[in-house]
């Protein structure tokens, strides 16, 4: 079955079994390695991508569901000013990142900042409830998201 979708700004066609996991297709056919194949059950967040602007778990998403959707992986998102805000915020807060679940951390932060630029601690905790990270702490993440929000606010004001 041929499934058309937009991937990182380009129209692509995946000839695949419709039930195949999207993460597998992204990694093997399109060589996009930012979504990781880890739990394969939607519990860790390492396979996260943006689908029509919303974070989704590509390990539990069968490829037929992305027909005509707009997908963005971290490879493309990392070229945007939105990513730069988050990266700077995380770096300023000393968020330790081995990199494996970066896609998850970055995209849930992006989704939260799209909702509010003054996120509360409770909102951040809630937003990170699907991210399994062994190498950082929630305190660092909370601080990182708040700093990223501050940077985004400043950029918005400047613009």
């Amino acid at each position: 079955m041929i499934i058309p979708f937009e991937l990182n700004g380009e129209m692509v066609y995946a000839d695949s079994n419709p039930g195949e996991r999207l993460v597998h297709i992204l990694r093997t056919r399109f060589h996009l390695l930012s979504p990781k194949e880890s739990c394969l059950s939607g519990r860790c967040g390492s396979c996260m991508i943006l689908m029509d602007g919303n974070p989704v778990l590509s390990c539990i998403l069968p490829v037929f569901q992305v027909r005509n959707a707009h997908l963005v992986t971290l490879e493309s998102f990392s070229l945007t000013p939105d990513y730069a805000d988050i990266k700077e915020g995380f770096e300023n807060a000393g968020v330790n990142m081995c990199g494996f679940c970066n896609a998850g951390k970055i995209f849930v932060t992006h989704a939260l900042l799209n909702q509010t630029l003054r996120p509360t601690t409770a909102e951040i905790r809630e937003q990170f409830s699907g991210i399994l990270c062994r190498c950082t702490t929630i305190d660092e993440l909370i601080s990182g998201v708040k700093k990223a929000a501050g940077i985004r606010r400043k950029r918005n004001n400047d613009e």
């Binding site: 880890s38 739990c39 000393g94 330790n96 081995c98 494996f100 409830s129 062994r134 702490t137 993440l141």
Partner: protein
């Protein structure tokens, strides 16, 4: 240093994929292997294809690369099929028939055959049995289950031939062990092998020797089929067949005088060593030493037996045995002080060895921060007044003490080489040929070098990318980076500083760590210091139990420790905080059943790991110490589970007899309490 890639992300041109053919019985003999017809470009290799030694050796014990004859656990590798299409390889593996003769499996329990004993330690002082008739006797049995590492990235290795050398990419805590192992298995000079460590993430001590085994299996296939070979475990395969922490049964008997002093301690520890356990010697030593914890016990008898079973390999995981025995000790202690009418703090301070002058300070710090004495008394009173378990708030608070031993114990340490080369270039940059991935450790090393040499942090670079460019070091575990590598960095930098303005740049200095600790430790009497250093700590946990659902909520978690001179407070706090989650999982979430010698797939699918956002508020406190910096990597593993059980014991009035715990087990503990009232 450039960020290393993840192994699962690495693909070479003309990549082949390898899948292991595994035994389908628990124990027996391999009679024949009947392989299906292999398509062109697909290969099957077994033990008979190994040109060198069919084993990986570590710490005096070994594991076969492929079993040639004896099958010792369900899932033991007997061969590998490789080929260009992974799904075809999986199909071929499923078609391999193994003809076997079954033998009675070795089981874990009090009764075991002499052939099952893989190690024992019996140490004693005085005649403890005589004390039991004259004092109050306490007894407890604790069962501690297996624990999985649950890495983000499943185990993986990718091997290819580059410039006529074998390059092995894998996430390992001990790159030089991978090189030595593959060299022995392939009968290849180690100069022909380059090991490039890939991004490790949090190792949790599960990547000390296992990557060497996987590397040997993939390297054999790569050399024979002359293609790059990648073995990448699925999450399920990783869960079912990689090493776990060794389960243990621990029995404590203590004789306590009416004034609360510990008169004698008799401990019997049984460790399930699995079919293979290359680190078992160190585990036995550490578990035996930790059996008395920080307490001053003059008369004791400690017996530790490691038993070979027909289970998959058992390793260390964070804590190296200390975590298991300190849990058993502290939960045993939690039953003592209520009966002798001392508060936990009074009892502990009364019995703790006063080796560390900061121990009183640790108790003061943590009691002030957590308000432990008041809360403990209040919850005790509430518990006594409660009519039944639905009457009032169910809250409890527990306090425990323990330590983390930094570095290996002498015997093992002597066999491991740690060396370091540091070069100051003509432009003033400092090149350290280490391959340390931890950002926190990198920062600490940079700060140290910077303060000695008076140069900016950004002039200091780590250049160790592979075994050719790295100094030879032992495994990155037991806080070796702080306990061994950091002093080596100091030595190198001091040497450069001495030569710096007398000799022209570049100046290169090499230093090697030598153990000199054999005289400081008496293993029979437990006198002296067995480790390079000990990080003493006190931990408090406040807990609330929902009487309807029997779920627990951690209200607060405090940990005070003597970390020596803290070089970077934020890094130190992060190091402890990030290990709190796996430490809590040891007691709360991570259930592994062993049925007929195998781990169950359902446990893999249901394995609960706490995520950062589920973590309770945590406070980390440091004593005002100027000692040499000490390790912090496993202190949470060693104390947090015991703090949880102590707090739960105050709520339920019963000690916790086994971990991990789930809601059903907490309910059972509670119901027993109700029945007894």
């Amino acid at each position: 240093m450039k960020e290393p890639p993840f192994c699962t992300d690495i693909e070479f041109p003309h990549q082949y994929y390898g899948v292991l053919v595994r035994s389908s019985i628990q124990r027996g003999r391999l009679v024949d292997i009947i392989a299906p017809p292999l398509p062109d470009g697909y290969y099957f290799y077994t033990a008979t294809d190994i040109p060198g030694e069919n084993r990986i050796s570590a710490f005096g014990t070994s594991v076969p690369v492929f079993t040639p004859y004896e099958i010792n656990y369900f899932g033991e590798p007997v061969g590998i099929i490789v080929g260009p299409d992974l799904s075809v390889v999986y199909n071929l593996v499923s078609e391999v028939l193994l003809e076997t003769e079954k033998l009675e499996p070795f089981k874990f329990g009090e009764k075991f055959a002499a052939t099952q004993l893989v190690g024992k330690r019996i140490i004693h002082s005085g005649e403890p049995e005589l004390e039991f008739s004259e004092n109050i006797e306490f007894e407890s049995n604790t069962e501690i289950g297996a624990y999985d590492h649950q890495y983000a990235e499943p185990l993986c290795v990718n091997v290819h031939i580059k410039n006529k050398k074998l390059e092995i990419c894998t996430a390992t805590q001990w790159a030089f062990h991978v090189r030595t192992s593959v060299s022995a298995v392939l009968d290849l000079d180690s100069s022909e092998i380059i090991v490039t460590p890939t991004c490790m993430g949090e190792s949790l001590d599960g990547k000390i020797w296992f990557p060497s085994l996987l590397a040997a299996q993939a390297s054999l296939a790569a050399v024979l089929c002359k293609k790059p070979v990648k073995i990448s475990f699925t999450k399920q395969e990783d869960f079912l067949f990689s090493g776990k922490s060794a389960p243990a049964h621990i029995r404590y008997r203590s004789a306590i005088a009416p004034d609360g002093s510990i008169k004698a301690l008799v401990v019997r520890i049984l460790i399930n060593a699995g079919a293979y356990s290359p680190l078992i010697d160190e585990i036995i030593d550490r578990i035996t030493i930790a059996a008395t914890g920080l307490y001053d016990v003059k008369k004791f008898r400690i017996e530790t037996y490691a038993i070979r079973t027909s289970c998959p390999p058992m390793g260390t995981m964070a804590g190296w045995g200390e975590a298991q025995v300190l849990f058993a000790l502290e939960t045993h202690a939690a039953t003592i002080f209520p009966q002798i009418h001392l508060t936990p703090v009074e009892w502990k301070l009364f019995n703790i060895k006063k080796l560390d002058p900061h121990i009183n300070e640790l108790f003061e710090l943590i009691c002030t921060a957590s308000d432990f004495p008041r809360k403990h008394a209040a919850y005790q009173l509430l518990s006594q007044r409660r009519k039944d378990h639905r009457d009032g708030t169910l809250k409890g608070i527990g306090i425990v003490t323990g330590y983390q031993g930094n570095g290996f114990i002498g015997k093992v340490q002597k066999g491991i080489r740690y060396s370091l080369e540091v070069c100051m270039e003509t432009d003033g940059t400092l090149l350290i040929n280490l391959g340390i991935q931890s950002k926190q450790i990198q920062e600490i090393i940079k700060k140290t070098a910077s303060s000695i040499l008076g140069i900016e942090n950004n002039l200091i670079h780590f250049i160790g990318l592979d075994t050719q460019s790295m100094s030879e070091t032992g495994p990155e575990t037991l806080s070796s980076n702080i306990a061994i590598i950091l002093p080596l960095v100091e030595k190198c930098c001091n040497a450069i500083q001495k030569q710096r303005f007398r000799q022209p740049l570049p100046i290169t200095v090499k230093r090697t760590y030598r153990t000199s600790r054999t005289d400081t430790w008496d293993k029979q009497t437990l006198e002296g210091t067995p480790f390079l250093s000990m990080t003493e700590a006190v931990c408090v946990m406040e807990l609330e139990l929902d009487p309807s659902s029997y779920t627990t909520k951690i209200i607060g978690l405090w940990l005070a420790c003597n970390a020596g001179k803290v070089l970077d407070t934020n890094s130190a706090i992060t190091t402890i905080k990030k290990t709190m989650s796996p430490a809590l999982c040891r007691i709360l979430g991570e259930h592994i059943s062993i049925q007929d010698g195998r781990f169950l797939l359902k446990d893999s699918n249901q394995y609960e790991v706490l995520i950062p956002s589920q973590m309770p508020p945590i406070s980390i406190l440091f004593s005002d110490s100027q000692d040499t910096p000490k390790g912090l990597g496993t202190i949470a593993h060693n104390l947090v589970p015991a703090a949880f059980s102590s707090a739960l014991a105050q709520i339920t009035g019963k000690r916790v007899n086994s971990i991990p715990l789930n809601t059903e087990e907490i309910y059972q503990i509670f119901e027993k309490t109700e029945d007894n009232q």
